[in-house]
Amino acid sequence: MSVIAPPGRLRITPDAIEEAAKLLYIRALKILPDDIKAGFHRLDASETDGLAKSVLATMIENIAVAERTENLLCQDTGIPIFNVEIGRDVEVDGWALKQAIARGTERATREHPLRSSVVHPITRVNAHSSCGAHVPVIHLDFIEAPRVLRLTMIPKGSGSENGSFLRMLIPADGIAGVKRFVVDAAIQAGGKVCPPTIMGVGVGGTSDLCMHLAKVAATRPLGSVCADPEGAKLERELSEAVNGLGIGPQGLGGDSTAFAVHVEVAATHITMNPVAVNIQCHSARRASATFTPEGVEIGF
């Protein structure tokens, strides 16, 4: 069995990954994706509460100030998360890739400089590198497209991450139990999670998979729809429900509590009915680099 890459494969060096990781962390913190900007204008157009409209206006102004002054949108540099999608004809040293992402993250932190928001969980010591055990969080996935590697960076803010909820409901609780859990999570989170938010909901799977699905849902672009038709229906119902609670931007009242509720589903056990909520704040930041034989494209 040959371990030499055949011709025509896309070869990506650790140095290229390191540079991309550094660039993406800083870019994600400064430029909000177009779908989120559009989401703000959609909410602003439909908001009926005067104070909520002024809060949204300040958030929209902040997006422009961040771009004009090349500054961070939010001071929370978050927990760095990298999603890596690897095509079928890509040659990359996986171990070196993980080291390169951590090096890029640390360099962004020291060279920009950025606040390292990462500490040891027991000693609370901050290494000022934005890195530590299992951080950056790296998710690897393999995709059908042949010669492409996509690196997506998500700086996950803590205010919204603290708004994470999991319950191992039982089959007798049904989908009604899932809906009640999501509505109650929105009420409990209130203004603490920096609304308007993207509420990510995981339904099914195991406990860990369920929470992971909630994170995937919370960090999906606005306008994307759950691939499962029942999940997509739940997204529409829950989006309307959450925005009917009156929590509003910053929890100060109004119609704009969530840009959207996103749902992801996984098959589960006959005895289980797990539901998880993970929330993305209005600074719903992400940046991506797509490596192809033609070069590297930077986007969201």
């Binding site: 104070l51 300040t58 603290n162 809906k179 100060l252």
Partner: protein, 202 residues
Amino acid sequence: MAHHILHMPITEAQARALRAGDTVTLQDTLFGIRDATQIHMFDRGRRTRFDLSGHAVIHTAPNVRKVERSGTNQAGYEAVCIGTTTSDRMERFTRPLMEREGVRLIIGKGGLREESARAFQELGGAYLAVIGGAAALETTWITAIEDVDLDDLNPESLWRFAIRDFGPLIVGMDSHGGSLYRGVQERAAARRAEVLARLGAA
């Protein structure tokens, strides 16, 4: 709804003049404080050399750049990005901040709870809401990092900022029992049944 311009520090009477829903612009001085700062100050008995009496504190941990200390910059830091964190985690420090340190105003996002509301009522203080996540804008209201204490906790040090036209902020909780957050939470709880009925999940 009145607008107040407050040059810090302020008196108890000035704090008690604020009503929930009013807006405020702060001038001159603001202190930055966070989880670790207050855990060390109130759980571990550490003291600050800063006089916080009559002042405002903001729940923050800034992004900063180290620079040479000079006559005009004693702190040795300049601001990169300064914003506001969720206040709820620091709920239990409101009373000691006011009782021991004399703090009058707490600035944060997302609001505080009933024990803080009681402290504001009994001791004469208020909670001012800044728009969370709008840190690039907030940074433009800060003219300098004047000084820093408890800096072994960096970035959760105790920071002294010079400010100009810091706001407008919204009075979220006042010294008369008024709280915008309580009103919103009560309304959400009241709407819950109707929302669940529409979902077929009552």
